[in-house]
Amino acid sequence: MAAAFPGWAAGRNREAFDATVLDAGLIAAGVADAVETDQIVLKAPDIAENSALVHIEIESKLADTRSILLFAEKNPQPFVAQFDILPGMDPFVAVRIKMAESAFLRVVVLAGGKAYMIRRETKVTVGGCAG
């Protein structure tokens, strides 16, 4: 696929994004063996009032953070987003996502050539992926 703007990286890991179960997505993204750490801060609601609009904040305290990957473990396609952090940006990002059902959110950070992760549960009252 041609890049839409000059200088864009064209790569998209389609296999990882298309995966319909978490394990396949993690393997395709190459992060199935990520090590759990408390050096990633994942802020998300315990109970999401609107499952189509779940506010999530991610901050990495790991040196040399290069990428932040977000998974909603029970979404139809669990891999939600990947942010490649370039020099000049803090390893912090906030986004709003849809959650199909109550599930663990998983953040994987690629830092210093290794994969680290943290996960936490968010409950939703009504499914969001249809809305």
Partner: protein
Amino acid sequence: MADVIKMRVVLSGDVATVKALIPHPMETGLRKDPISGETVPMHFIHHVVATHNDKPVFDAQWSRSVSKNPFVEFRVRGAKAGDRISIMWEDNRGATGSGETVIK
């Protein structure tokens, strides 16, 4: 798309905190139109890049799980008043959009 990306930047020291709202339906392909009953085709932003004075600060791949009219917040280091922050996106149909703001 004619809709404009809403961007707000707050400068604190040399760190610019950027909050943006990108108008886009972000259809999952699972939703049914409540009137026609037809499934609304998948239509979502899959690639987003933000730049600081034309230098990329993040390069993101998104799925259809990102919310409608996506919100994104990020922090740029080494920023000062007069600098430009831009966001560019492309969706799964090849449509593109962009927005730019100048730090005050």
